[in-house]
Subunit: 227 residues, 2 copies
């Protein structure tokens, strides 16, 4: 997925100088696991920025360690090799999205509201993590095990959406349609925003998600043969 | 836009050995302009393949000339620098698409049929030129003049789609909706197929385009508040 020019400009502007290392100073206090996760996240952020701006192949582990302001040895300790960094970026996205999607499916909301919330979840993830979204287009460089894991997580997200659509059909709220085509149409609408959405644009993500859901639910025709 | 794994496999399989140069042999007969265009197209094909498989930054003009089986000097004569090759790929796509889209807009078809045909035009272009589609995600490397030209062509395609949607609303065939949101939803549905469509899959592009158009036109709800 391409990144919108507006995001690119924002990215270029916010590229901070490498964090200063302070040898000899006492370490910051806090739970060790929190510190570990924060460091790991900082490395993934740096990698996602570089993958987005320069491309995956053109970015070296040395580039990432410089961007994150740490040594290569420290980087390997926290995140491992370049394909492992890419896998970690993918997993972070999936692990943020799937519990929310499962929660929507299992909620008491109406099928049409579940559909709108599902679309909003996808679109808000893209809004929150534009560089991670862009980095995910490099999925062909994942190692086989990580690629398999991502396919399974993608399949789970697909199953959740199909279940929401089927529930709507079974309850008579939706008319019968090709569930797979509908799922792919919905995924396209949601994911395409990564190419055009501007954080400073006239519409917010919740507004766009609701607008898309309304168009999708009601359709464009003012009269329809199936009703 | 990412390229579907099925297309990647096909691409890897069809990578032909460099065309043999036959110095001293008489040149093939035919109109010089045809020969010129065929040569140019062969270079663009080679470049699009490499941009897709390796990425734009990781591909050199030398790589492209080798893949096309010609010298770098010959390549420069036909297509120019790497950003100029990228611009030529973009233009070839736009120049194939825009006349067809304009023809659809100016035809006597109903608004709903025009919409379905517009979506089919987008999707068939992606089907015919998967590597060109994938190469277009590198548009950030276009030189300023070429980038401006592409923005204008993208704007023209947007104007055509907006005109089709507005015509449907004006004629009362469509109910009033946010035309910009609808256009972006339609673009997402159409363009996303580049990430999942398989040429050997169960559905053809015309079937998918018609299925998408039906879902979009009729909507998912079996009853709708605006009717």
């Amino acid at each position: 997925m391409a990144i919108a020019p507006q995001w690119e400009a924002a990215l270029q502007a916010v590229q901070s100088p490498p964090a200063q290392r302070r040898p000899g100073r006492p370490r910051a206090t806090g739970h060790p696991t929190d510190r570990y996760e924060a460091k790991r996240k900082a490395i993934l952020d740096a990698a996602a920025r570089l993958f987005t701006l320069r491309g995956y192949e053109a970015t070296s582990v040395r580039d990432i360690s410089r961007e994150a302001g740490i040594s290569q040895a420290t980087l390997y300790h926290y995140t491992g090799s370049k394909p492992e960094i890419l896998a970690a970026i993918h997993n972070l996205m999936a692990d943020e999205l799937l519990p929310r999607m499962n929660g929507i499916l299992q909620s008491d909301l109406s099928p049409e509201r579940k559909l709108a919330e599902y679309m909003r979840a996808e679109m808000e993830l893209i809004e929150r993590h534009p560089t991670y979204t862009a980095a995910m287009r490099h999925k062909r460089w994942l190692l086989p095990g990580a690629a398999q894991e991502m396919r399974e997580k993608r399949d789970e997200a697909d199953r959740i959406l199909d279940a929401i659509l089927q529930e709507g059909i079974d309850k008579g709220v939706f008319h019968p349609f090709n569930v797979k085509f509908a799922r792919l149409a919905i995924m396209g609408m949601s994911n395409y925003i990564g190419t055009w959405f501007s954080p400073v644009g006239p519409s917010t993500i919740p507004e766009i998600a609701d607008g898309f859901a309304r168009i999708l639910l009601q359709g464009l025709l003012s009269a329809s043969p199936h009703r």
